[in-house]
């Protein structure tokens, strides 16, 4: 057999595999693991949404749609963003339906980055931004965020990292992995820097609806920001539809148009079944979504209190479904802590450094699990921390 790796591009060969992947391989081969390691809701997609998909299949909706997505869906997305954020987008030219936010981000990188353009990425960050930037020829520039700032991006940090090559700023709030959010004032603090340096903001708001004790603020709603922000959102988290792979991007028509051009050559269109389900979600799914968000909020408080009691304190995360406690009391690195916890107590959490070096010293715990599950996990983690306390 030939050595396939001889044919691979150098840039692909040097791309490191996701730190999460390695940990997944470790955890998935173990029996009886209690996991706090997922990045998706514990709810199955609400029945009425699944049912709408069955019905569309019965009716024979199995064909391609418009490249940018069904116009009915784009119209519903426009109405939804208006209801929720008071933002107005033209469904014909300013909205693109994608295969999850992941595709939208990849498209944006590829249509916007020239070789060597810099992408400013707050860290800890979701795992695909850095490789996505590199594959599009850009240069990732990591912005440190700190626990004492509740992992918000500060003006000083941004100002210190901007160069003449800076082109994009990637914001993910509510944040995966920290659960941190940026409020209106936090975002306002950055606006003049963004405008003065002519940056385009890619705002991954996939966890936007999962904001607790207040309402999510999209940076696009701030003065002068709509024209230079590409909002990315989707159905995975808010509507418990991860496997359907439906996301969307909204923003400047030239950029969305270019993304659509690339999208039509690579994906053609997002699957119609998922689009039909998404349409139902926006038309009739908000009550159910609010019920799920309320449920996450209950469990958020429960796990936060529990972690504090066992000696793994965390700032109060106000978004997503993650808590990001410090593990400094054990004196271990994130990876060491996670591996030992898995081996000794069969609890899976995700080491913070999988999300970049600012995540070192922390672990990501997801609370999209039942109350019993969370309490069992906390009990075992408590025993572990007591044993390894330094």
């Amino acid at each position: 057999m030939i050595d396939g790796s001889r044919y691979l591009r150098d840039s692909i060969k040097s791309l490191p595999p996701s730190g999460i992947r390695r940990f997944f391989d470790l955890a998935s081969h173990m029996e009886g693991v209690i996991s706090l390691g997922v990045g998706e809701p514990d709810f199955v997609t609400p029945w009425h949404i699944r049912e709408a998909c069955f019905y569309s299949l019965e009716k024979g909706y199995t064909m391609y749609t418009a490249n940018a997505g069904m116009i009915e869906l784009r119209e519903e997305i426009a109405k939804y963003l208006y209801r929720w954020q008071n933002l107005t987008y033209d469904p014909e030219t300013e909205i693109l339906v994608t295969v999850g936010v992941s595709e939208a981000i990849d498209l944006a990188f590829r249509v916007l980055l020239e070789d060597g353009d810099e992408v400013l990425i707050p860290e800890p960050s979701y795992v695909s931004y850095v490789p996505g930037t590199i594959m599009a020829g850009g240069t990732p520039v990591m912005l440190d965020t700190r626990e004492e700032d509740e992992f918000r991006l500060t003006r000083d940090e941004l100002a210190g990292k901007i160069t003449p090559r800076s082109k994009l700023l990637l914001l993910t709030y509510p944040n995966n992995p920290t659960g941190g959010i940026m409020g209106r004032d936090d975002l306002l603090d950055l606006v003049d820097l963004i405008v003065a340096n002519d940056l385009i903001v890619i705002s991954d708001e996939i966890y936007g609806e999962l904001t607790y004790e207040g309402k999510h603020v999209s940076i696009a709603t701030l003065p002068g920001m709509k024209e230079r922000t590409i909002i990315m959102n989707g159905f995975s988290k808010a509507f418990a539809m991860t496997g359907w792979r439906i996301g969307y991007a909204c923003g400047n028509r030239d950029i969305i148009g270019a993304m659509n051009k690339l999208h039509q050559y690579t994906i053609l269109c997002a699957p119609i079944m998922g689009q039909m389900a998404a349409l139902e979600a926006l038309r009739h799914g908000e009550a159910e979504m609010r019920r799920m968000v309320e449920d996450y909020d209950y469990r958020r408080r429960l796990i936060l209190k529990g972690l504090k009691e066992i000696g793994l304190p965390s700032f109060e995360p106000r978004g997503a479904f993650y808590v990001f406690p410090s593990i400094s009391v054990t004196g271990m690195s994130s990876l060491e802590f996670s591996e030992k916890l898995l081996k000794e107590e069969k609890i899976a959490v995700v080491p913070g450094n999988a999300f970049g070096r600012s995540g070192e010293g922390f672990v990501r715990c997801c609370y999209a699990y039942s109350v019993d599950h969370i309490e069992q996990a906390l009990e075992r983690m408590g025993a572990f921390v007591a044993r390894h306390h330094v």
Binding site: A27, G39, E40, N176, R301, L302, V371
Partner: protein
């Protein structure tokens, strides 16, 4: 939403939630939650704490019937007096006053068909306000109080994902 309402919703979903858990989930003081539950119980807003059981799976071969009952309402008390009398029988699990073609929907549980027919013919149908009864036996239960009996859905997520 008010505190008592949120407590009720949590307990309705899972009666095993302890006051400590509820307090943590709602971000409230534990003593306040304990006091609130005590009040709700005292005022009979919380009537009891029970479990939803698949008796068929537990090996019980009892029989359940839905009985449509037409009754003559009485002056001053309307349907309440007769409904309350029917409620007192331990065989009767549920009693609703209904709109439509009959008045009371009565769910009766017994150990077998004979048990139920004896109850209806000797106790229920003989009450002087009862005009008629129509009995429907339950053949299979699929869902009760929000719980699906043979639910195939389970956590199918990967152990770790980004």
């Amino acid at each position: 939403m008010s505190l008592d309402r949120r407590i009720l919703e949590l307990l309705e979903r899972d009666a095993r939630h302890t006051p400590q858990q509820i307090a943590a989930m709602l971000g409230e003081d534990e003593n306040r939650v304990i006091a609130e539950i005590a009040r709700l119980e005292k005022e009979k807003i919380i009537l009891g704490h029970t479990s939803i059981i698949n008796w068929e799976k537990a090996g019980d071969d009892g029989v359940t019937a839905m009985v449509e009952v037409k009754v003559t309402p009485e002056r001053e008390v309307g349907f309440d007096a007769i409904a309350n009398r029917i409620c007192r029988f331990p065989e009767v699990r549920t009693v609703y006053l209904m709109s439509g073609l009959y008045d009371l929907a009565v769910v009766v549980h017994g150990k077998d068909l004979k048990d139920i027919s004896t109850f209806i013919s000797q106790k229920l149908a003989t009450m002087h306000q009862v005009q008629s009864t129509t009995t429907h036996f339950v053949l299979k239960r699929y869902k009760q109080d929000g719980f699906i009996f043979d639910d195939k859905e389970k956590d199918r997520r990967l152990v770790v994902s980004p």
